[in-house]
Amino acid sequence: MRTPILGLAMLAIAAPAVTSATAEVPIGALAPDFTLADAAGKPVTLAAFKGKTVVLEWNNPGCPFVQKHYGSGNMQKTQRAAGAQGVVWLTINSGAPGKQGHMNGTEAAAFVKAQKASPNAYLLDPEGKVGHLYAAKTTPHMYVIDPAGRLAYQGGIDDKPTANPADIASARNMVLAALGDMKAGRKVAVTESRAYGCTVKYAG
């Protein structure tokens, strides 16, 4: 009697659904399309950049890790290097209203200007829809999408997960490494790394 009951119990225990709130986009899969308003309120659609390499950068200006890379000029330098290769750079803010780092369009434009940043657009995602679509977890969290629209890299901006700007000098910039591989027609050597930083301040 005991064994069948145990068996039944096991059947039932395994039953509750196992689904992730945010499904990650696997490397090599088509990057899901989205449309978001930029700082000026103009809609920007990912699909419009088909044929070009696109970098997505999750941003929260209040996050010390973001400050590490903006304060040191590392993020701006990476943006310029990408821009020089004709890569499209989209900075996305998924901070919910009332949470750290949330900005309206005016604030976002002021941030870009003050930081001398050069993204093609600063996109506002206050509901976190696109953040959840890409399972963006930290700020910064970086994604590289190849010209065919497939995800080529996701993870941290570099391999030194600290808040100390002094570590940038000795860190390997993973975004530039991926872009370099793609430009040279090589397979991207490191397609994933641990994104580090603050938690994306989603609603809820």
Binding site: I5, G7, A12, A14, V18, P26, C63, G71, T199
Partner: protein
């Protein structure tokens, strides 16, 4: 230089947005402490970073989860000192907006071992500087924090202040304990399965697998943990392309800690026959149906348990004896069924609510409170004495006076009573199946509880609706009174069992109090019986003072067992260094072994070798003392003893030969022959 200036400028420009982040005080206050300020040369001491987070703030485990950062330490000290890695306590999960964090939301301590080399002269001062970098977060803000901590040790006698030792013991107890047995994992597509050997008897409370190896599992996806005999299977969502050579992690066993292990690739059978790929809704339905079937069957079987059988059989006989009409018989059967099902569903609903509130409750949860045991004891004693003939209770035996008018109501209350007194029997019998029910969606779980009641009521229901069955019952007669007296025996046994449980829960005093309450109540019933025999009206009033007195006893009785109530395995003494020294001074050989409830290898060795009769005989002949150290909850005295012997985990077996001499370490796999042959 220019870059640094730029950085400074940029930070200042960002300041309005992150004023909080740039605050000068830390949100987690660290302190560096050494267990001994005067470590002896050639010794190993423990240092601790005691971390004190502000309210609502948390620090991170080594693997922070989806976001966060591990704590880094940079030591500056005498080159001869060797610092070990940071050892983290078992973390907690913290889900923020769908993102999983592995954190500490309370005071915690990370420990580091420090080896002081042999050649260092006593009196040497050892200044130590530790630059600690960690991340402090609250649900809306994260701040990387840093602090340089200093401490100065002086090489000396290795004295440890008892208060300091107690504090370190407390911290050590929070560390995961190394699992002695091999763990395996298997990745197939999106499915990650981990198998950890864990004895079936080891208690767990909301077990959770914290992976240390990154990029193996999706942290935010729910895990399902299943116990199957001596294995625990964790099912989680694998990361795409995860191909680790090994998986390190910590399994939380409950609030009292967890075990650390490194799993190697292997084959891990699914914890269930229901394929993970099947539609979940469908599998919930399947699981519900299967659990429902099991519950009905289980309920049916409960009818033959000692606490239920007398009630049912007498009710059945009364139905036959009363010679009622078809309609009355059916009505009574339905009323009885409703009574049973109502109590089962009510108990199930309470259980679900308790589970929802996060309490650890299982079926028969009501039996965890000694006052409920007392109430059941009083009730079961009353039923037993009723069956023995002390007084008449119409609801159960269909006593003549009230049978006619109280048929259906009587049947309902008999059913409720049967279901309620059945729970002590259901506990060990149906525990697993009912434990399953609570994991189903609430409506399905309630259906399973109702199924249990239906099963319990089924025999009586059949009797009510199938006249042929009723007719096959033996003809009423004087033998029925005899049967009734006989059936009081299992009821008395049930009462005895309940008294024993009361004793386990509340000690001898509690058991005596419970028995006194039952006795007072039975005196009241005796009086009722005398009045019934004299055909007095209002025969039941003596129960009022009896109930009041029994209630008063229940109110004042002790609710918890005295600490000394736990007894070690017969013939095996609990571990204690003074006692060990005393035994050795007597010249007796000693087998000292360390075990833990969660250590499968330990349990196997105990069953197949240590607790064998031939070993016991051999040991008795040689006057071998057996001493057991139970490390289930990380007893600090045992931790110290193990580390002094260069061990970090269990099992650990030591043989002290007679007449002193160095202890011999026994292998981790024992056989009875080997133990019996140990030279005394």
């Amino acid at each position: 230089m220019i870059r640094a200036l730029l950085a400074l400028l940029a930070l200042v420009s960002a300041a309005p947005l992150c004023a909080e982040a740039l605050g000068t005080t830390n949100h987690i206050t660290p302190t560096l402490v050494a267990e001994s300020a005067t470590p002896a040369p050639g010794s190993r001491i423990t240092l601790a970073f005691a971390m004190k987070p502000d309210a609502t703030w948390h620090g991170y485990w080594k693997n922070p989860g989806d976001a966060g950062m591990e704590t880094l330490v940079d030591w500056k000290a005498d080159k001869r000192l060797a610092f070990g890695p940071l050892q983290y306590p078992v973390p907690e999960t913290l889900m923020i907006a769908g993102i999983m964090n592995y954190v500490y939301e309370h005071d915690y301590a990370m420990l580091v071992t420090l080896d002081v080399p042999k050649g260092i002269a006593p009196g040497t001062t050892l200044p130590i500087e530790a630059k600690l970098d960690w991340l402090a977060c609250n649900p809306s803000v994260c701040v990387p924090e840093t602090k340089t901590l200093t401490i100065t040790l002086t090489v000396g006698d290795g004295h440890v202040d008892p208060a300091e030792a107690a504090r370190f013991d407390h911290w050590r107890a929070a560390l995961p304990r190394p699992l002695g047995s091999p763990a395996h994992f298997q990745i197939a597509g999106k499915s990650f399965r981990l198998e950890i050997p864990l004895p079936a008897a080891a208690a767990t409370d909301k077990p959770y697998f914290f992976p240390l190896t990154d990029k193996v599992v999706d942290y935010s996806a729910p895990q399902s943990v299943t116990r199957e005999g001596d294995r625990l299977v964790v099912e989680a969502t694998a990361k795409d392309g995860a191909k680790p050579g090994s998986v390190e992690g910590v399994l939380r066993l409950g609030p009292q800690g967890g075990v650390a292990f490194t799993a190697t690739p292997g084959t891990v059978a699914a914890a269930t026959a229901v394929g993970a790929s099947e539609g979940r809704d469908q599998s919930v339905i399947v699981a519900t149906l299967v659990a429902l079937g099991g519950a009905i069957l289980g309920g049916l079987l409960l009818n033959i348990m000692p606490c239920v059988f007398p009630i049912l059989s007498l009710k059945a006989l009364s139905l036959a004896r009363s010679g009622k009409s078809e309609a009355d018989a059916r009505g009574e059967a339905v009323a009885y069924t409703i009574g049973v099902v109502a109590v089962c569903v009510a108990l199930g609903a309470i259980l679900l609510v308790l589970r929802g509130l996060g309490q650890l409750a299982g079926w028969a949860f009501q039996l965890q409170d000694v006052r409920v045991i007392l109430a059941l004891l009083v009730l079961v004693s009353a039923i037993a004495f009723n069956l023995a003939g002390l007084f008449e209770l119409p609801a159960i035996t269909g006593g003549d006076s009230l049978a006619a008018k109280g048929g259906k109501a009587g049947a309902f209350w008999t059913g409720a009573l049967a279901a309620f007194v059945a729970t002590p029997c259901a506990g060990p019998f149906l525990g697993v199946a009912l434990g399953t029910a609570v994991l189903l969606p609430a409506p399905a779980a309630i259906a399973v509880f109702a199924g249990l009641g239906f099963g319990l009521a089924l025999p009586f229901l059949l009797l009510g609706f199938v006249p042929a069955l009723r007719n096959r019952l033996p003809k009423p007669g004087a033998w029925m009174d005899r049967l009734r007296r006989i059936l009081s025996i299992p009821m008395f046994l049930t009462a005895l069992g309940l008294a024993w449980i009361a004793g386990r829960q509340a000690g001898v005093d509690g058991m005596a109090a419970a028995l006194a309450a039952a006795l007072v109540f039975v005196f009241g019933l005796w009086w009722v019986g005398r009045r019934q025999a004299a055909f007095k009206t209002g025969a039941w009033w003596p129960l009022v003072p009896a109930l009041l007195i029994a209630g008063a006893i229940a109110a004042v009785m002790p609710h918890t067992a005295p600490a000394a109530a736990t007894v070690a395995e017969a013939g095996h003494e609990p571990f204690g260094e003074p006692r060990l020294a005393a035994l050795r001074a007597e010249g007796r050989p000693v087998l000292l072994y360390f075990t833990a409830d969660w250590c499968l290898t330990c349990k196997v060795n105990e069953k197949v070798a240590i607790e064998r009769p031939e070993v016991a005989q051999a040991f008795a002949a040689k006057k071998v003392a057996v001493m057991v150290g139970d490390w289930t909850n990380g007893d600090p005295a045992i931790s110290r003893f193990l580390s002094a012997h260069g061990r970090s985990g269990v099992p650990f077996y030591l043989w002290y030969p007679a007449g002193g001499g160095e202890p011999r370490e026994l292998p981790q796999v024992l056989t009875p022959g080997m133990l019996a042959a140990l030279p005394a």
